[in-house]
Amino acid sequence: MTRDETFLQFLLRMGDNTLILGHRVSEWCGHAPVLEEDIALANTALDLIGQTQMWLGLAGEVQGEGKSADDLAFLRDAWDFRNVLLVEVPNGDFGRTLMRQFLFDAWHSIMLGRLLKSSDDRVAAIAEKASKEVAYHLERSSDTVVGLGDGTEESHRRMQEALDYLWPYVGEMFASDEVDAEMAAAGVAPDPASLREEYDSLVQRVLTEATLTIPDSRFAHKGGRDGRMHTEHLGHLLTQMQWLQRAYPGATW
């Protein structure tokens, strides 16, 4: 791969993570257990979609084929997406949605913190903007995970089940490949594996406070961030997200 192709892969990974998670979270709009949570989820989704516009906007520029962020979001098929599997799994109950949010926010905040020092000014600028929003996301998802984990017998049970279900999807966020190696060598982005220690201590601290137990396995489902094998859920998600462009190709607002 050329340098631009590698950079494009990195940008798609960032933008597809926020796009797919933003879409998943927006599925709660009008369905959350209480109004405040509904608003909070909608606002979180909105931030993530906004960040997507920046990442995929830059991806389109780097690609140099005249594609906009919208083109990349709506006109690609499942195998072209580069998001981690964690963000595409279905929401499950409210507890699982918030657990996934916490596991992602923790990674996201650490990643963006490192990207502030990217050798690429455009990446650093997006990270600067996004990290302020993600600090709020993490504060809220941590609080909620603690509240529900250390809550009633039922909420505790559901949060532990959510953690057990989602934990095997955590490892992929730290699995490095040749794209990461090249980005790290160029000073554009950190090697994801180098974020793991900070992540583990953050997650351990919050989950301990939430009286939850991290599963004792490092097994990781992979295949999202390199596009080799997404779960069946991504295709279903895209039929919703891309419905308009598939039914009316080229339709504009």
């Binding site: 405040e36 949570e37 608003i39 909070a40 606002n43 979180t44 989704a45 909105l46 931030d47 993530l48 979609i49 906004g50 960040q51 516009q53 920046m54 000014d121 650093a124 600028a125 997006i126 600067e128 903007k129 996004a130 302020k132 929003e133 709020y136 504060e139 809220r140 609080d143």
Partner: protein
């Protein structure tokens, strides 16, 4: 016609209300970052508050409409994301207007210092997020009124 001075343009922009919190202007909000003439084209740099804020495109349209109404027809709007918007850029005039409107202005401590309705310091957070991306939802335990708090970022 002579082209308007940059000062005059800032004054015009200070009359463009924020679409979601119309008591303050887009200048009060600190999102207009730069106004310059480039030949006969007026360049205005605008920064978004939150990256996904749906008001951003409405604001751009409102700015353009206002400037056209003042006779400027060559306008170039630039979205500038760095340096990232901070609530430090809210004007003092804007902060006072927010408070009068019932929205607690941002505080470095991370929460409102007092209830914008009765002035009590007995306030508590209801939710990290409020009616728009830039606000959180709080309530006063003295006068029992809920209120929006403009988050500090």
């Amino acid at each position: 016609m002579d082209r308007a001075t940059v000062e005059q343009v800032w004054e015009w922009l200070d009359a463009v209300p924020d679409p979601e919190i119309p008591v303050i202007s887009v200048v009060d909000l600190g999102i207009v970052r730069d106004v310059t003439w480039e030949g006969d084209t007026l360049k205005v740099a605008v920064t978004p508050t939150y990256s996904g804020c749906p008001a951003t495109s409405v604001i751009a349209m409102d700015i353009e409409t206002a400037l056209r109404d003042h006779g400027i027809d060559k306008i170039k709007l630039e979205t500038r994301i760095s340096p990232a918007w901070t609530t430090d850029w809210l004007s003092d005039k804007g902060r006072a207007k927010l408070k009068d409107y019932g929205i607690a202005p941002p505080q470095p401590a991370g929460g409102p210092d007092r209830c914008p309705h009765c002035g009590s310091t007995a306030v508590e957070k209801v939710s990290q997020f409020g009616s728009t991306p830039c606000k959180a939802h709080w309530r006063c335990t003295d006068c029992r009124e809920p209120f929006d708090y403009f988050k500090c970022i």
